[in-house]
Assembly symmetry: C2
Amino acid sequence: MAAEAPPIQRRKARRNAAAVSGKVTLQQVAAAAGVSSATVSRILNGTAIVSDDKRAAVFEAIEQLGYVPNPVARGLAGGRTLSIGVVTQAIDSPFYSGALRGIEDTLSAAGYSPLFVSGQWNATHEARCIETLRSRRVDGIIVLTGRLSNAALAATARELPVVVTGRKLKASGLFALDFDNFEGARLATHHLLALGHRRIAFISGDLKHLDGSERLRGYRSALAAAGVRLEPVMELPGDFTEASGLAAVERLIDSREPFTALFAANDQMAFGAALALHRRRMRVPDDVSLVGFDDLAGSVYSVPPLTTVHHPVYELGQLAAESMLQLLAGEKPALELPPPRLVVRETTRQLRT
Amino acid sequence: MAAEAPPIQRRKARRNAAAVSGKVTLQQVAAAAGVSSATVSRILNGTAIVSDDKRAAVFEAIEQLGYVPNPVARGLAGGRTLSIGVVTQAIDSPFYSGALRGIEDTLSAAGYSPLFVSGQWNATHEARCIETLRSRRVDGIIVLTGRLSNAALAATARELPVVVTGRKLKASGLFALDFDNFEGARLATHHLLALGHRRIAFISGDLKHLDGSERLRGYRSALAAAGVRLEPVMELPGDFTEASGLAAVERLIDSREPFTALFAANDQMAFGAALALHRRRMRVPDDVSLVGFDDLAGSVYSVPPLTTVHHPVYELGQLAAESMLQLLAGEKPALELPPPRLVVRETTRQLRT
DNA sequence: TTGTACGCGTTATCAG
DNA sequence: CTGATAACGCGTACAA
């Protein structure tokens, strides 16, 4: 036993050094295991059946040497980089960052790495982002609510798998994951109607996006179903930012148009609206009821906590990533997001009569 | 002229096809330009001086063919992947996402791509993340407030450039970008003292992190300087989350210890604190003054807008990325974050006497 | 089942 | 200044 000590120590030392420097090659593993490099590769990728003894020898060698495959070389040789491009609009938006985490969690669990790029709400920039991702040879691209045209998306889907959220679209090699924004907005508006409100103003998001237009449609639909007349003055334009929500409410108040409730197309605008109401000395929910959309992490802790429509952003990211994995595996994804759900907190109350 | 039309068209067509498929190789460019591939490489990387005519011919060919270099092959051959690993704790945290944007902006402007991974406040997981990044052959690693030991960080800095934020540390190949949390906390506490407050409670963050402990130190220092006795009961433990801020304030109120002001070690805990006060029917700032730390994007729109210490997170990301670029260029970074700055908004007021 | 040999697209090292 | 040519580390036809 004692005689064997030195070799063992040496092996251990080498292993640590290797694990840190990451410089052990597949070739070295093959040599140590007494097989060809092709066999090692086959074992690693499950490309072919290998005899059990060689298999064991290879794993032994991998363990001893602390071998870690080099994804760069893999990418060059095999064409697969095990990385997925993710096009987001603003990486620091409270809305998207939740989705990004969902994507990262499920992608990394599958051995893939996400490559995030920000499109910055600009179609041209977005196209450039996709070019960058393609030049980096990503295996697929996930687009979170892009500005890119459906045609452009379908075109890149012909080259590599694409998963897109926030729009409806069918094309080969592409999967669209959509959330029922219409129903969510209907739910929110219905809630206010059920509380007795009739003068319900709506702060819309960017109508160029499906999210924005669908939420407006849901609002209108609910009002119509309740027999409440649609009034253009009650539809305030916004762009999904807090500032636009604040501005919209100030304009509404200045117009002296009576209203008892406010539905903002997203939580951020609802926050802006709440501040505007506060500035004008109108209390929430005593004077005005307020509903948001998205259920951001911070909405639970706003004062008072915001009633809103839950949008499962984390799950959105997870499902987008899972769909991509399925696309990569040659399967046809059919995942669906859970239906929207109203979360009643403390910014809404029965209309005083 | 007319005779030349066909070739031009053909060239155009080929160029488009190439730009989309991204399959034109450096070899093809070399062939088209009538030079060797080495020359093309040299021109692209500025590795050596090349005659003007060949240079022009190569650029002409690149343009015609729509050549885009392949970073994967580059990574294999040259060892540089033009990608930087970024270890963050929670990609969806409002605090870190701002920094991530700063990093992405300046990195991509320099032709680098960031590779984000989440350490999830877990040293073991963080170490694994770094292994992943190294296996992907990133050219450097930026660590945002990690849990990793200084020793571990210094060790990886021996292998490749490292930039770390949120701690003080000197080592070769490593640059630490620190923010003056002590001074920021001192500023905030001083502000409350200047308003006449004496019973100022402090909700601390995770004291295992330098951010947390330094802010506590700043709070104590300001009190001491004003001759106010430090009372352990006024120092409430927290962990940087909204929930912990809420719990801390509820405990404080239940203890019936009198207090007129509250300083939370970050904005998220301040939000939690504000909600707790609201629940207990204590008004901000009329009954209690409240100060946060970080100046998150949402703090401007909280109701009422939060007085807080501005922490330049976006710049933090920018500077971290710039430092990394300098490290990569063989320079010695000496960038510094701007000093902390108190942003007085509407949650603090003169103590009523 | 296994090994040989070539190719992936660049960079780097030599000569010239 | 420029051109062959050898790496870089791995996947994969092809052959055995």
